[in-house]
């Protein structure tokens, strides 16, 4: 069904037809798979780099000026690349790792590469929210730096970290759609092939529903977890 020859309301109705959903069902799984794997990779690297930025900060636990400004510079460079260019840039890397430059797994590399620097910055800003007095207290008790990071810094800022991760997952979802254009499969691929190239606007609409629902679920879950934590700590 196309908006070119069918009224809008009929296309909307048509977008709920079972055959449309049968068509896009596999791609929902692909999108979920990409989102989950890329988010996990982003979480691991983002937190480590974010912690590194926070502690090497001139006012941090172990100030290392060169490392801090060097890492900051690299992150800013990576963040200034548009996502599409990052996907193209990562093609040789994907080929090196997976032996091919297209497909779901290959694009996960690009998504991670693009989202890690962003998430690292979000983690850094969450960690910087901690009151300096808590770090002083932990130091005065005789904690090692590792203990301060693991037992004070991360747990104390956890609700804020959860909120940041929610924002970052949503960025990952939107990038999986873009990656669809470059052979990653998933919802984006369906939207391009059916909605854009074949004018099947009922399919296009269905992909929009999927993305909206996906983002809503993530946001609601993130808010819920973060609020629960704050309420448990009597901070809300």
């Amino acid at each position: 069904m196309s908006l070119l020859d069918t009224p809008l309301w009929k296309v909307i109705l048509g977008s709920f037809a079972p055959e449309v959903w049968k068509r896009i069902a596999p791609s929902i799984w692909e999108t979920l798979y990409m989102t989950i794997v890329a988010s996990v990779i982003m979480l691991l690297f983002g937190v480590v780099i974010g912690v590194l930025l926070t502690i090497t900060n001139p006012n941090g636990l172990t100030p290392r000026k060169t490392l801090y400004s060097g890492a900051g510079w690299i992150i800013n460079c990576l963040r200034s690349l548009p996502q599409m260019i990052m996907i193209i840039l990562m093609i040789p890397v994907s080929r090196l790792i997976f032996g091919r430059s297209y497909g779901t797994n290959a694009c996960i590399i690009a998504i991670a590469a693009s989202c890690i620097p962003m998430y690292a910055r979000i983690v850094e800003s969450s960690l910087l929210e901690i009151e300096k007095g808590k770090i002083d207290a932990a130091k005065s008790i005789g904690s090692s730096n590792f203990q301060i990071i693991w037992k004070v810094l991360l747990p104390e800022t956890f609700p804020s970290l959860v909120r940041g991760f929610t924002v970052a997952i949503i960025a990952v979802i939107s990038m999986t759609a873009l990656a669809g254009m470059f052979g990653a499969g998933g919802i984006g691929d369906i939207a391009v092939r059916f909605g854009y190239q074949r004018f099947q606007h009922d399919v296009l609409f269905a992909t929009v529903y999927v993305l909206i629902i996906l983002v809503q679920i993530v946001q609601v879950l993130g808010d819920l977890v973060s609020r629960r934590l704050l309420r448990k700590r009597c901070l809300l």
Binding site: A137, I141, E156
Partner: protein
Amino acid sequence: MDEYIKINDLYKTYSAHDRQLKVLRGVNLSVQKGEIFGIIGFSGAGKSTLARCINRLETPDSGEIQIGGIDILKLSKEDLRQERHNIGMIFQNFNLFESRTVYKNIAYPLEISHVEKQEIRRKVLETAELVGLSDKLDAYPGGLSGGQKQRVGIARALVNNPNLLLSDEATSALDPQTTLQILDLLKEINKKTGITILMITHELDAIKYTCHRMAVLEEGQMIETGEVNSIFHNPHSRTGELFSKVFFEFQRNSEMIDGEGI
């Protein structure tokens, strides 16, 4: 009585932008074992910096700090961490860990020294009892009153059985009633355990109520040291000036307390 803290000729300068701020300018101090020693001064006099130099949260430019015969400024990083187990500290803003329950806050110092679970439990319960928090162990600090928070802070500072407690404006954020209770608690702990307490404050009444001896810090220098009573009765001229300046605040606080024991 023997000398527990010995500070010689301590200097500390902060450089912010191109300005140099001389916070400590040749501070000398001697505190006896088991006494409650008060240091009073206006904000900006360098009191907090002095306290923070003692457990090396700040590193002084020059001078010497000895605690129980140990030269704090010469310790390696690792030895300093060990020595800090022996120096408790409480803060104006309590600085509790909000992600941990009261129990877990008090347990923290033991946890990081890998003490056995059973032993942690025993010590935490014992310390909680001492500060009067036995019924709040499962609460989170966010749900406690200021006085209760400071009790958690005190318990956390004491659970390692330190020989020295640094109190950095510990009652300044509390109302007069709660201040009295916390000061009473500190006195009681001092009597029970013989711990040396160094109290940094800008509240005259807190010093008068709690301390055995005191020192007056002004613009980074000690201008007077001695018995609390004798200083209050016969202050050095500049101390007298300082007292009269803070007197108004003192009077206001006293009125709020309504003659309760001070």
